[in-house]
């Protein structure tokens, strides 16, 4: 018996089904080839346009210099490790603080009014101020206060500034997620005798968090890039290293190296976001 003619459970497929599957395979193969061909043509066109541009020779020398690339890469990579560390420390802090602020804004009891007002003000302010400004204010303003116990190392200050800025966004994402959970869920939880906190913790939050994973990952990607902003307060990270090279050697290729590293870091996150979105869509459809 030819391969592929027996279905699961030992049932022999009908001739019609075998033919149908052959056609499906052929069609899948054909769309694959069409996709590859059109991609190659498209890329060739882009390259042709760029290479034939009048200023191409100068751009190539300034941005695509293999020797400068190889020379700068080790230092840029070392700087990039600082970006990764800032990201890895700031992200959990942002998640925790964002969730706390979202929860504070859900508290209804009058005792919590001052807390709630504070949370609203915090979100309003830090969503409005550009991240770069927050970094400058924290980076130069905080140490200038000369308060006991305030850190003065730039990396820590950068982490604090990024956390302050991103927590405001993430809190809003969590709040939107809480709002998407159907009110019937809370009513059902409360009617079973669960308290507000219990209903939140066991019923509303687990569903809310699931709903906001894609937008949260999107904010992560954005944060990965924004770690470069801390270069402004003197942190020697990837962008700063590239800058140092660029200004001493009059060649911009190190910037390209830094850009490449950032892209390499964000691509896995972007694909993971796509994967989660597709999985959610499949679940909904099922």
């Amino acid at each position: 018996m030819p391969a592929g003619t027996v279905a699961g459970g030992g049932r022999v497929k009908s001739a019609r089904q075998v033919e149908r599957e052959r056609l499906r395979r052929r069609r899948a193969y054909r769309s694959g080839s069409v996709a590859s061909a059109s991609t190659i043509i498209f890329l060739a066109l882009v390259v042709a346009v760029v290479v034939n541009a009048p200023g191409w020779e100068r751009v190539r020398a300034a941005f695509f210099d293999p020797a400068a690339f190889a020379e700068a890469l080790p230092d840029v990579v070392a700087g990039f490790w600082v970006n990764v560390q800032i990201f890895l420390i700031a992200e959990p802090l942002i998640l925790i603080a964002g969730l706390l602020i979202a929860l504070v804004r859900e508290l209804r009891a009058p005792v919590f009014f001052p807390l709630r007002a504070l949370a609203v003000m915090y979100v309003d302010v830090f969503r409005g101020v550009p991240t770069l400004l927050v970094i400058l204010l924290v980076g130069f303003g905080l140490p200038a206060l000369r308060l006991q116990g305030v850190p003065d190392d730039e990396v820590t200050l950068g982490v604090i500034a990024l956390t302050l800025s991103y927590t405001a966004y993430v809190a809003e994402v969590f709040r939107a997620g809480i709002a998407t959970v159907h009110p019937g869920q809370r009513a059902a939880a409360r009617s079973l005798g669960l308290s507000h906190t219990q209903a939140m913790r066991y019923v509303v939050l687990p569903q809310a968090v699931r709903n906001v994973v894609p937008p949260l990952l999107n904010d992560f990607v954005s944060l990965q890039k924004d770690t470069a902003l801390v270069s402004t307060i003197g942190v020697i990270e990837a962008l700063r290293q590239a800058q140092i090279y660029a200004s001493s050697k009059f060649n911009y290729t190190p910037y390209l190296a830094a850009a490449l590293l950032f892209v390499l870091l964000t691509i896995p996150m972007a694909r993971f976001t796509d994967y989660l979105a597709a999985r959610t869509a499949r679940r909904r459809g099922a």
Binding site: H182, G184, Q185, A187, A188, A189, R190, S191, L192, G193, L194, S195, Q198, Y202, V203, P206, Q207, R210, A286
Partner: protein, 247 residues
Amino acid sequence: MTLLRIENLWKDYHGHSVLRGVDLAVAPHEVVCLIGASGSGKSTLLRCVNLLETVDDGAIFLDEEEITSPRADADAVRKRIGMVFQSYNLFPHMTVLDNICLAPVKAHGVPRGRAEEEARELLTRFGLADKAGAYPDRLSGGQQQRVAIIRALATRPRLMLLDEVTSALDPALVAEVLGVIRELREGGMTMILATHEMGFAREIADTVCFLDEGVLRERGTPEQIFTEPRHERTRAFLSTVIASRRL
């Protein structure tokens, strides 16, 4: 001897009164059916009893304790009342077993092992033993609603409120849910049901209450309400129901 007493209950939404001075007493083991047109206030009345809404006047007493008093502990009151909703409202991120065990374990302090044991007993009793590990979206509507009833039952409530528990179901699935309610009645459960199933109300109720624009127009035995309604509005309502063949 009454288990639940509602006195002159008023509820407003945006200046419009949805319940207008409702009086109702429910004895232990009594089954009360609320009938009435859409928008007459049946769901609102049940939600008030379960303290999911704050009332605008009047009082509700459970075991002679005023539960509508601001001093009453709302969570403690809800622990004594089970409610089942038209739209099931099962928790989609939990298995059937976890849906049932959540409240006994977290709100009533029942040890996890015993809660699970009792949940499985209930599932077996209502023909759902093989669904314990399933997620709600893998169940039919009738199965979901039976799980929702079991979930409310698992907290051992003194009183069950059922709000149109069959309205979202295919006719073929209605019977299995009604079967569960019949069994609850045989077990002596006190219940208030809002329902559009007049035939079922007639069979299962001790008392039928006709709610009309927030007013309890008429109450009586099923016999009396369905064969010789006294109020003109009750007659009008029942004749529209007969016209739409729901009786």
